[in-house]
Symmetry: C2
Subunit: 244 residues, 2 copies
């Protein structure tokens, strides 16, 4: 060892300096590559799956991020409908407009929803509403409404490179009436917990806005899932199913 | 040097092996950290911004991913509305239902849209439709419709941890009539280019479905952007504005 170092350092320097400590250099490079690869993989993993694990669906609603098991098989229509509603932190609500210049027109609007805490799906999409809200103006005149949510809102379609209008990027359409839930009831407490758990900032929204909890009472369900046209799902089957 | 190595290797080994090659070790550790940090930053950058650059908004519609400049200041209402429609690859359309058991109800449904190729916003949300589609059944009876798109569909709200119902996570509601665009016209060609450029799989959709291009003829615009309630935007101002 000693002689070898002396030779390399002073007496018989190789033509290429890269060969100088070739054994040690290779080990260091290998070590660096190993560490870099490992940490890079970890970083990518944590960025892509902040809640851990492959094989599931990742939802980032802005306020919170969640990781869910993969969706049910596409032929389990009721379960797929429940799955999409459960993992969706927001959805679009259609009402009949009462607003100037568009009275009687359909009216699409975005709302944060929750059908339960992430580990408990009820199938009931709950809303946190105020009489000041545009769609609530409509609902006071006509409670009929329709709600749609899509797997395009999660990592599901993105990872599979599915266009949002591709039938394999499933979406569900619930239609019925919006029902205001009476304060002080068990359902109001559970609904508020469901909403606040997935939308923590709701607790800090202006106190003078008169927020209340509401639910879509589901009359009709369409599932756009896979090819062959929309599937109609009986609400009873929907409630009997489990998302996972 | 020689003596030092000999001493360390055999005669006067230090109590901590970490001190053995302290100068060299520190340099290697520093080098590894430098490389690891650099590569990790690059990986995170590429994962978060596949199309490059901070300060903008990233949209991943599943089929394609795009990076856009940041939104206009929130007080430039018309420009913000144009921005949200331009960067949105999909949106939710409300119609008046003609379907069994929910006839006359509002009806919410998801569609892929494009108001132009990514570098050219027209402000006109274009659709690729077929008479087989549920909402098109409705539109044939009543062309009135409303379309909503939200910054919650992009990286904008996610990166700022904004709840989708937070007014700072802006969304726009366009209401009007859906107009079928005649094949062979310049508008049909441009609309098809706008749609296919952002939804390449549309070109491969079943030929026997009778796809056609349609546009929402905008009558009324609400922008939910920042606090203080919805802003009504004159369609003329909307068309005169530029998203960036």
């Amino acid at each position: 060892m000693t002689v070898e170092y002396n030779e390399l350092d002073g007496l018989s320097r190789p033509t290429s300096s890269r060969k100088r400590h070739s054994g040690c250099g290779l080990a260091v490079v290998t070590l660096i590559l190993f560490v870099v690869t490992g940490i890079s993989a970890l970083v990518v993993w944590k960025v892509c799956f902040p809640s851990g694990g492959f094989g599931g669906v990742f939802v980032d609603n802005g306020a919170l991020a969640h990781h869910y098991p993969p969706p049910p098989p596409h032929t389990e229509y009721a379960a797929v409908a429940r799955y999409i509603i459960h993992i969706s932190d927001w959805a679009t609500l259609a009402t009949i407009s009462t607003h100037a210049n568009i009275t009687g027109y359909p009216f699409a609007n975005v709302f944060s929803i929750s059908d339960g805490i992430t580990s408990n799906s009820t199938g009931n999409p709950y809303f946190y509403l105020t009489d000041l809200e545009l769609s609530v103006h409509d609902l006071k005149a006509d409670p009929r409404a329709s709600l749609t949510a899509s797997l395009a809102q999660s990592s599901y379609c993105r990872q599979r490179r599915l266009d949002p209008q591709d039938p394999v990027c499933a979406h569900v359409i619930l239609t019925g009436e919006i029902v205001k839930i009476k304060n002080g009831t068990a359902e109001a407490a559970a609904a508020q917990q469901a909403l606040f758990s997935r939308h923590p900032e709701m607790q800090d929204w202006p106190q003078d806005h008169g927020w209340f909890v509401a639910r879509l009472a589901i009359r009709h369900i369409y599932l756009l899932d896979y090819f062959g046209g929309a599937k109609v799902i009986d609400p009873q089957d929907y409630y009997a199913a489990q998302p996972f």
